[in-house]
Amino acid sequence: MHPLTKLYARKMFRQRLVYVFFACFFTASFFYAFLISTPQMEEMLNIDISIVGRENFPEFMMRFYVGTVGILFNVFLLTLFLCEEDRNKILYQPLLHGESRKRIILSKTCVAVSMSMIFVLLTAFINYTTAFMRWGANIFKAAAIIRTLEKYLLSGIYMTAIMLFIIVLCIYTRSSWKTIFFVIVYMFMDSFIYNSDILFLKKLWIGYYFNFWTFSCEYRAVPLKEIFGGIFVMGLYGIVFYQISLHRTKKIDF
């Protein structure tokens, strides 16, 4: 690993907010696992424990992280990591030590992308742990585990593409609040496009496949066609976002 990447990774994992967030997530998952089984809670939360419990619980809890909460959490961390550093004039400090602009962005991107994937897998681990604590070995059903882990990995790919999008926003806007603002706009657009009837637009939209995997294929396997279609579109978006961020970094005026 390049020393700069190592430095950025250390910086990111030194953020106390990351640990606070996942401690809260564990608490939430624990409460959901242990407290949703009562009839009052089932009625209040409008769920059926026979469907969302046991082997389906990790999939049920996935939506609490991937999507709105996860994207917001990641954008807050990334703006801290990019925009705030830029404002404090430390983002481009490695240039003084002979590093190239491309190297800086590559290192930042590597950390951001691995961070998003690690966070998704961490939520999978937390959800499986709490589900195991609640239902024991009953949660281990081969078909369900494969299906759930597949969805977590697909969500990780989606979050990775979104991270690249956030990096582009950070580099272009160079301001925390503007980046957060545009990400919120993106989330509304995403929900609007997913609920619209324009099939052509939907198929080309980065968030469509994630919504399809999570909501339309809830508690059932995702068709292979949709998996590959989604990975292809997200990969394409990812490459474009990465190229844009590199292009912009080369032109940026300090």
């Binding site: 907010l17 939360l45 807050f76 925390s176 609040w177």
Partner: protein
């Protein structure tokens, strides 16, 4: 002096595109709520809100996360952002005391919160009138009571966010902290509502708007109002203390 500081704050606010975006966003959410109530309300489970209770539904959408997150955003931009860029010091150099500055900031954020809240109320009634005519006034008493009661937790929320922003050094940190607090609070309200209603002022954001489906009793209303006032006083004292000790 405070009036002058307030004028500066509002001049800044007017130039914030974010503020206008909020209105567009809320208008879109309210119209989309109305459309989901008119399409096939029984299928969507919206028949309860179609007509007279439509403004309540919009209020709940506002209370859920958007309103609070937006408020936190405004506080972050106005306090953390200014502090990080050193603009907090500027009024102090012109003879303004820390206390006056804090008061002006808090009052301006109160007014912003009130404008945002009023916008939701007026726009939802207007939209409801367009869709359901006079039926939108069927539950006016119930709705107005909710509006009046919600002013208390909203005001306490502003004080809480201002205090939080005084401890956070940048916009991202502030937003992240408020997101975590909101989620934890939502979680506790869902699972331990019957216990935390005695200590948590934020619980009343959900209880007074009917978001958590709890039937409000007389003693809960009185306790909610008292709790919010007491918490508000404690938070204000905390803000004052923090401002006195803070290195700008």
């Amino acid at each position: 002096m405070i009036i002058r500081l307030l004028n500066i704050q509002f001049a800044r606010l007017k130039s914030q595109k974010l503020f206008y975006f909020y209105f567009v966003l809320m208008a879109a959410i309210i119209i989309s709520n109305a459309l989901s109530c008119t399409g096939s309300p029984a299928e969507n489970g919206m028949e309860y809100y179609a007509g007279g209770r439509f403004p309540t539904m919009c209020l709940q959408s506002f209370i859920d996360i958007i309103g609070t997150l937006f408020l936190s955003f405004i506080v972050a931009v106005f306090i953390c952002g200014e502090r990080a860029s050193g603009m907090f010091k500027q009024p102090l150099l012109n003879g303004v005391s820390k206390k006056q500055l804090l008061l002006a900031k808090t009052i301006s954020i109160f007014i912003i919160a009130l404008i945002c809240f009023l916008f939701v109320i007026i726009f939802s009634i207007g939209t409801g009138f367009l869709f359901w005519g006079n039926h939108v006034f069927d539950y006016t008493g119930e709705y107005l009571l909710q509006v009046v009661l919600l002013i208390f937790p909203q005001m306490t929320m502003v004080l809480f966010l201002v205090l939080l922003s005084l401890y956070m050094s940048n916009i991202s940190g502030m937003m992240c902290a408020s997101l975590i607090i909101l989620l934890v609070n939502n979680l506790f309200s869902q699972f331990f509502g019957r216990y935390i209603l005695f200590i948590d002022f934020m619980y009343y954001l959900y209880a007074f708007s009917g978001y958590n489906g709890v039937v409000l009793k007389g003693w809960m209303i009185v306790w909610g109002v008292i709790l919010n006032i007491v918490t508000g006083v404690v938070l204000f004292y905390g803000m004052k203390r923090r401002m006195d000790n803070m290195v700008m």
